[in-house]
Amino acid sequence: MRPPSPSIPEKEFLFSALKQGLRLDSRDFLETRPVTLNFGPELGWVECSLGKTRVLCQVDAKMVKPPPERPFEGFITIHSELSPMASSEYELGRPSEEEVTITRMLDKVIRRSDVVDKESLCIQAAQRVWHLRINVHCLADSGNLLDCACLASLVALKHFRKPDVEVIGEEVIVHPPTSRAPLPLSLHHTPYCFTFAFFFDTSIPPVLDPNLLEQRLNGGLISIALNSQRELCVVQKSGGVPLEPADVLNIVNVAVQKAKDLDAFVEARLREDWAGRKVEVR
């Protein structure tokens, strides 16, 4: 079902407010909405919300036989499908533009930028490896689903623990979590994604973390995924108004600072959650 486009009064109001340097939800141009992370009882389950946008992500692992062309590595599959829960404009079975963008970006940010050390997922060469499945469910789309989905998947990967496996000769023993503590995944780096929206009127500077109205009325979106060590993973700008190189560099600098802040927040939340779980070391 096609969404009703924003009405003309809404459009004019937004543009005139932005021209005066005001965002409708009284944020700064370069301020994100408040991020909250809620962890579930099982490890690897996290619900992330960026303002009213919400995404649920769950990671689980299965032991499988690896494909013959890559016998020493595990593999990751990401499953993200938009359901009518995110908004009634999304239909099941018909991928919308937003869904395609999210799927491709998650693929680039998580798989192609090598977040997870795949060789550490190998248990027995050419026979058993871990197959990690990342399930992303978008619960509410209030603008900028992409950043929320990337953050949720990343935090879920950091939260997840895989069972401890012991290989003795040809025998493989999987220890249940009650007998041996499960192990965290080995991650190379943690990329965070930031989306900026810019508008047809080039006098309006780009805004970070567009909400629903800003995203509907944008003249182009640019998404930057980078980690807190200032390494760029993905820069994606699909169509839209052309940007000056100086603007792009500014945006990247802003994203670098935000990535550091977000990383500190995520680490603090993970530590807090871990402290709340009863972990016995015998």
């Binding site: 359901s83 009518p84 908004s87 499945r133 619960l139 209030s142």
Partner: protein
Amino acid sequence: MSLSLSLSFDALSRVDGSARFGFGLYPQFLTSLSGPIEVRLAAEQPSQTTIEVNVRPLTNVPGTESKKFGVILKEVMQRQVIMEANPRTLIQFVVQALVPLRSNSKHTLNSDEIMAAMINCCTLSLLNAGSVPMRGVICAVSVARVIQVDKAFKYVVQPGDPNQASSCVAVGCFAFLFSEPEPKLSSEPSSASSPCVWTNWRFLRPGHADSSSGDESETAARKIWERMKMLVEERENLKTAPALSLKNASSSRSKANEANDAMVVENEDEDDDVKMEI
């Protein structure tokens, strides 16, 4: 019999109503409801509304099992929603599982428990939305009939995995429609009966078939109904609706028979802002 429930209204921004429900300490399902909304021409019905239920498991693509649950839920919802009130419209449910439906951990759910939780969750989301006219409130529980040592039958509500318990002879899920008004005096029991609108009662072993299913299922479903009413009361009177905590659950269970005078006050205020956005 003690029922531990976790129910709460959610605040998803792009749908009309949303709620979480679970048997036990944590919510197992999150249902969102949009309706009555515009319907595709192919699915339009000229004299009644169209109901669509999508069940999405936590892991994997939705498969045949999800489709089966969806079809059953659609049937049950048709008993609850007044279909003729909004012709040529769509009422769209999306049931999202928050726990893996098939797992080998200790939290395995049997399919009856799943069914009961999904029905209750859909009912809660209808109550949260308030935009769909309803005939009544449907609450469901799963029950098992167990043979005791002295060959007498006992009905157990919310059993564990029935295949493991060798004394289970029959299992199933019952859904009851509650619609009678509250009695004026709290000492009067509710007089009207609540009909059972759906069941999948089945016998696991031959030779025990008979049609009785005991009153325990209706009593348990009534308790669930009372919890739902309390949640709605809280929401309407206090304008804040934090999730009911387990602490509250045990106190409310003991007061379940005096639902009229039990007005539970929650002390969690941190969800104030979330609820104010509605």
